[in-house]
């Protein structure tokens, strides 16, 4: 009788074996050991009025059900360089995905659905892309050529994305190193997915065609934190122009990760940079685990020969499947249940790959995407939570004529998809003998990823025969270089020099507030540290607490300080005025003062009240200590004093009064 693998135990042992550590505990030595390497593709929508290749308005979104028409397309793989269809692409094509596009007349036209050729590239988008390229120190091309980059998933109705290189070979400075940039391209954004079920995938075309830039870095990042730092830098740099879109989905990144001996895997559409460290950490270790699985399998399987699986259709009633809801449902839907034998895969299926996930998960995602089998679509002989009874597995082993080192997988689905599913499983097994498959993966907040698509080959770029090259003359480029924002790294250093607390920088850069601070410093008598902290802390607080009045913009803040200065009111008063101003930006400043109950009082009158308050404290104060006395008096005076005189000076006066001539500092 064969020695059964204990999945739970094996999962733990294999995790140990590859030396997985949580990110919290990981050090640079861990990343060096596995050869961590990562690069970025940072996407940023540009703030233009129109889409890139048509005259539809950009940035108008609608709900899933708000559409005027639908149309259907099927994407067909085109022949690759060697005249062969890409294996997986053909497999996906055989399963025939019906792609449905929802069109809303307000924001999409016949260009978007590939029924009209492209119009000339939006000049505004081109200008912004050139400016950002210059900030990235890229070499600007002499002539912009539009290229078609093929996508078969249907996310673009043409089947390709029109994209053009603006600059190549640049660099951005991080705190401790320089990251090289491969290129910056200007491209059209894709559709937003509405659903993906079985053989139907549905998209809406509102976001489609909006101008987007993609900044691609070299894989220069050697640990997860560097990846985030680089990504933040690029995003802040983009935003520093004030000409990019912000908000949900306006900036997204694809993160490329590999470990030594692994393959470049692309984690698509990461919405928040704070997810990056965990994602890249987990992915690098997943690849490391796949290499360990390859080594295990190669001892048992001749990798030179094509790997073959065998399978049998299972009779639902011959097993105890009634107790397993997913299989029961499948049977009720008339689906087939198939048992597959994977020769030599014992101990591999329960091998650790990601926290909480074992190798068998790799099949699940592919069955969903390539064979269109909705999840849950499979289970296996080494499931961490085993649902199929041991006696049933034994029965299947006999049916499949299994050997000791084999593992088994059971999947279910509509009859017409079974062939593709079997091919998919066999292909994935073959790939595991080679190591890490080339693929794109979808990310989850917990840092795990799942198979999304096969990474298309390098030869998916074609010149666009519908557009003509656009020359970029020196004069034109130079005319765009005027009024360029300063470098992020320089701004970072300046804030530090001013003494603005570092924890406010992310907020300041992500909202592109540095220019505001700079204007406050240059145009008012505010101390830089006050201006920086006011923006980085007070404004952030107010933004988080109150709802913004429609007319509010950052210019209101400049005007506010101008008003205070003009009326000889102390800048501290701005802190109290800001919440009102933020909610009611159209209110004039005098009314804001009334609203916060401010009355102009001369500093003499404030100071005159100190002796009276001092006596009052003697009567009511519970702890008769000078320190408490000062605080109490300040408390009584603060609201009235704010704006009328400097609070530090007032506190000094109070202390003097309380302590006689001795100066005391109060909080």
């Amino acid at each position: 009788m064969k020695q059964k693998v204990n999945p739970q135990e094996n999962f733990g042992i294999t995790r140990e074996k590859i030396g997985y550590v949580s990110r919290k505990d990981a050090t640079q030595a861990d990343y060096d050991r596995i050869g961590f390497m990562s690069g970025l593709e940072v996407h940023q929508q540009l703030l233009t009025a129109s889409k890139l290749f048509c005259r539809c308005p950009a940035g108008i979104y609608h709900d899933h059900d708000d559409y005027d028409a639908e149309l259907v397309r099927h994407m067909r793989p085109t022949l690759s360089e060697l005249g062969e269809y890409d294996g997986t692409a053909l497999m996906e094509f055989k399963t025939r995905k019906e792609i449905i596009y929802r069109v809303n007349n307000e924001n999409a036209c016949t260009y978007d659905v590939d029924d009209t050729p492209p119009f000339p590239m939006d000049p505004e988008a081109l200008e912004i892309a050139i400016q950002i390229s210059q900030l990235c120190k890229l070499n600007i091309v002499g002539e912009v050529h539009v290229t078609r980059k093929q996508y078969l998933d249907g996310s673009i109705p043409t089947g390709f994305q029109r994209t053009a290189i603006i600059g190549v070979e640049g660099a951005i400075p991080l705190k401790n190193k320089t990251i090289r940039i491969i290129q910056l391209s200007l491209e059209e954004d894709s559709c937003r997915e509405i659903l993906d079920e079985g053989h139907v995938r549905m998209y809406k075309t509102d976001r489609l065609g909006m101008p987007l830039i993609e900044t691609v870095t070299y894989p220069d990042m050697k640990n997860p934190d560097e990846v985030k730092e680089a990504c933040d830098y690029i995003r802040f740099l983009n935003r520093s122009t004030g000409k990019v879109r912000t908000g949900m989905g306006a900036g997204r990144q694809d993160v490329n990760v590999s470990c030594e001996g692994g393959t470049r895997v692309e984690i698509k559409g990461v919405a928040h940079t704070r997810w990056i460290p965990e994602l890249t950490h987990v992915e690098a270790f997943r690849q490391y685990a796949l290499l360990s699985i390859r080594d295990l399998l190669k001892k048992r399987i001749d990798a030179e020969k094509p790997y073959k699986i065998s399978h049998k259709v299972l009779d639902y009633y011959s097993y105890h499947f009634d107790a397993i809801p997913a299989i029961k449902n499948a049977s009720l839907n008339g689906h087939k249940i198939i048992a597959v034998n994977l020769p030599g895969f014992s101990g591999a299926l329960s091998h650790f790959t990601q926290p909480g996930q074992c190798f068998a998960h790799e099949f699940e995602g592919r069955l969903k995407v390539i064979a269109c089998l909705e999840r849950p679509n499979m289970t296996h002989s080494e499931a961490l939570n085993q649902e199929i009874l041991a006696e049933d597995w034994e029965k299947m082993e006999k049916l499949l004529d299994c050997q000791d080192q084999d593992a088994q997988l059971v999947f279910w689905g509509p009859e017409e998809d079974i062939e593709t599913a079997l091919e998919t499983i066999e292909e994935r097994c073959q790939m595991s003998l080679e190591g890490v498959p080339n693929e794109t993966r979808k990310s989850f907040e917990d840092g795990s990823t799942v198979f999304e698509r096969v990474l298309p080959g390098a030869d998916r770029m074609y010149p666009d025969t519908d557009t003509v090259p656009r020359p970029l003359e020196d004069d034109y480029i130079n005319s765009l270089t005027k009024n360029m924002p300063g470098e992020i790294i320089e701004r970072y250093k300046q804030l530090k020099k001013w003494g603005v607390p570092e924890d406010t920088y992310t907020y300041i850069f992500s909202r592109n507030l540095y220019p505001l601070i700079e204007r406050l410093v240059n145009n008012t008598r505010l101390k830089p540290v006050f201006a920086g902290t006011f923006v980085g802390q007070k404004l952030k607080f107010v933004e988080g607490q109150f709802s913004k009045g429609e007319a509010f913009d950052y210019e209101c803040i400049e005007k506010l300080f101008g008003y205070l200065e003009e009326n000889k009111l102390h800048p501290e008063l701005a802190v109290r005025m800001l919440p009102v101003l933020y909610q009611h930006p159209k209110m004039d400043f005098d009314s804001v003062l009334v609203n916060i109950d401010f009355k102009p009082v001369g500093s003499n009158r404030l100071l005159d009240r100190i002796p009276f308050l001092s006596q009052k404290f003697d009567q009511v104060g519970r702890k008769q200590e000078p320190k408490h006395k000062v605080n109490w008096i300040m408390g009584q005076l603060r609201n009235q004093a704010t704006g009328n005189m400097d609070l530090t000076q007032l506190a000094r006066q109070v202390a003097q009064e309380v302590n006689g001539s001795k100066e005391t500092k109060t909080a």
Binding site: A69, V72, M75, N105, T110, G142, E143, T147, I165, L472
Partner: protein, 461 residues
């Protein structure tokens, strides 16, 4: 030789390449005032300017380098690309009908050369099978390339050659004929073949594509499958145009060659039957006739080929203020037939009358068709119409302008006797003129109207 090495380059760009000894397909490092660029030098399209050099950079994208910025160039490698569509033997099955596919030069199946953007046509059965393997499930295909011209260069010579070739194939016993054709003049050829190939026992299907097959969303493969289905299995033995019904990948329509017109410059569903309903819908599995009457497929081979054409025919699109000398010039240059495309029910201005009279005296055959596209010429309603008829202009019923042009050329290729020409022109051939217009023969929906919006929301346009 230099052409080969510096493909497409001229002027300043060519000078630079020669100066630094860099060839097309050479891997080059170019230093410029904007920085360094590395990649493979590509051929340049001859219509583009001479101030830029095109490169494919390592990431697969193309860029152009401004020659004025170049400070030095160096060729560091060389690899010339060679492309061909792989041929796979087209599987022949006894169960499938035999279909002949004629090529005219339009590319129905093709692949883009990913480096240059050049279109490599797939045409031989093996190439076609490589590109659209599903065809083998529908029919056995044999191919013959008759000419290599763009759609807009198709003309009388080509119509005649095609008609003769079709006649030969019918005699040989094929089950159906497909003609690959650029879409711009698909309907002209459709009309010409209807007149030149009469009483065909088998379907003759013209097919093209609105989006070239090098793009994943192309309509080419599906159009080919639809056409193969109609030619090999369909029961309608007429000259037809087979193109998308809706813009969606759903079904195709079969239109009579005499009643079809390209109605949108770029839509997939651009071909519409005018003044009538289409013959049939077609998908990968079957042809579903819509039109109640059609010429059914026959076993005999009794086809009549009438390969005639006199190209001294022209079409005059009337506009307000047209001067008589436009007609005089045509007559003086020896034109024998004029198809007027008139306004409304078929009108031109009075100023032209003397020129029209002169033309009639010179024996020019004149017919009236309509700018409105839909409807019948009706020259009895206003006096001007009667005047014109008196001056020799013959109303052509609801014949489409392009069809009337082709038919007049074909008629004059047979006779110049005014009565005989008139007889040929006004005797309907496969509904080039219909006796009646059905109520659903004219449907142009107006967007924005609530009920239309409701309809297009539910039904794919």
């Amino acid at each position: 030789m230099s052409n080969d090495i510096f493909q497409g380059y001229r002027g300043r760009a060519l000078e630079q390449l020669k100066k630094y000894h860099v060839r097309v397909w050479g891997k080059a490092v170019i230093e410029t005032t904007r920085g360094r660029f590395e990649g493979t030098v590509l051929p340049r399209s001859e219509n583009d300017d001479d101030k830029h050099i095109v490169m494919k950079i390592i990431t697969g994208y193309n860029i152009g380098i401004d020659t004025d910025t170049i400070t030095s160039m160096k060729e560091v490698g060389y690899k010339k690309a060679n492309y061909a569509i792989p041929e796979k033997e087209f599987p022949i099955s006894d169960k499938n009908p035999n279909v002949k596919l004629f090529g005219t030069g339009g590319t129905i199946a093709s692949r883009l050369d990913y480096r240059t953007g050049a279109v490599i046509p797939a045409f031989s059965p093996g190439e076609l099978y490589g590109a659209v393997p599903e065809l083998a499930d529908i029919c056995n295909i044999d191919t013959e390339k008759l000419f290599a011209v763009f759609s807009e260069n198709m003309g009388p010579k080509q119509y005649i050659a095609l008609a003769k070739a079709i006649g030969k194939e019918i005699e040989k016993g094929v089950d159906g004929i497909m003609i690959g054709h650029g879409t711009d003049t698909l309907h002209h050829t459709g009309a010409a073949l209807t007149f030149m190939v009469q009483n065909s026992p088998i379907p003759i299907v013209l097919v093209g594509s609105q989006r070239s097959s090098d793009r994943p969303s192309s309509d080419a493969a599906l159009n080919l499958m639809h056409a193969a289905r109609a030619a090999g299995h369909g029961d309608i033995a007429e000259t037809m145009v087979c193109m998308f019904g809706p813009t969606s990948d759903e079904y195709g329509l079969l239109h009579k060659g005499t009643r079809v017109r390209k109605m949108h410059s770029s839509y997939r569903s651009t071909f519409r039957t005018i003044g009538d309903i289409p013959l049939a819908t077609v998908n990968r599995e079957k042809v579903d006739p819509i039109h109640k009457k059609y010429n059914p497929r026959r076993k005999d081979r009794n086809v009549t080929i009438k390969p005639f054409f006199d190209d001294r025919v022209t079409m005059l699109y009337y506009y307000p203020g047209m001067k008589p000398d436009t007609i005089d010039l045509l007559v003086d240059n020896g034109y024998k037939g004029i198809v007027f495309v008139g306004t409304g029910l078929g009108h031109v201005n009075k100023e032209l009358y003397p020129a029209i009279e002169r033309a009639q005296k010179k024996g020019v055959h004149m017919y009236m068709t309509l700018q409105t596209i839909w409807g019948y010429v009706h020259m009895f309603v206003y006096d001007t119409g009667r005047d014109m008829m008196a001056k020799g202009i013959i109303p052509a019923g609801n014949m489409l302008p392009e069809v009337a042009f082709v038919k007049l050329g074909w008629a004059l290729g047979q006779t110049h006797d005014p009565e005989e020409v008139k007889q040929i022109m006004l005797t309907p051939i496969n509904d080039d003129i219909t006796l009646r217009e059905p109520y659903n023969g004219y449907l142009v929906y107006q967007g924005g109207i609530p009920e239309v919006e409701e309809f297009i929301k539910k039904v794919h346009k």
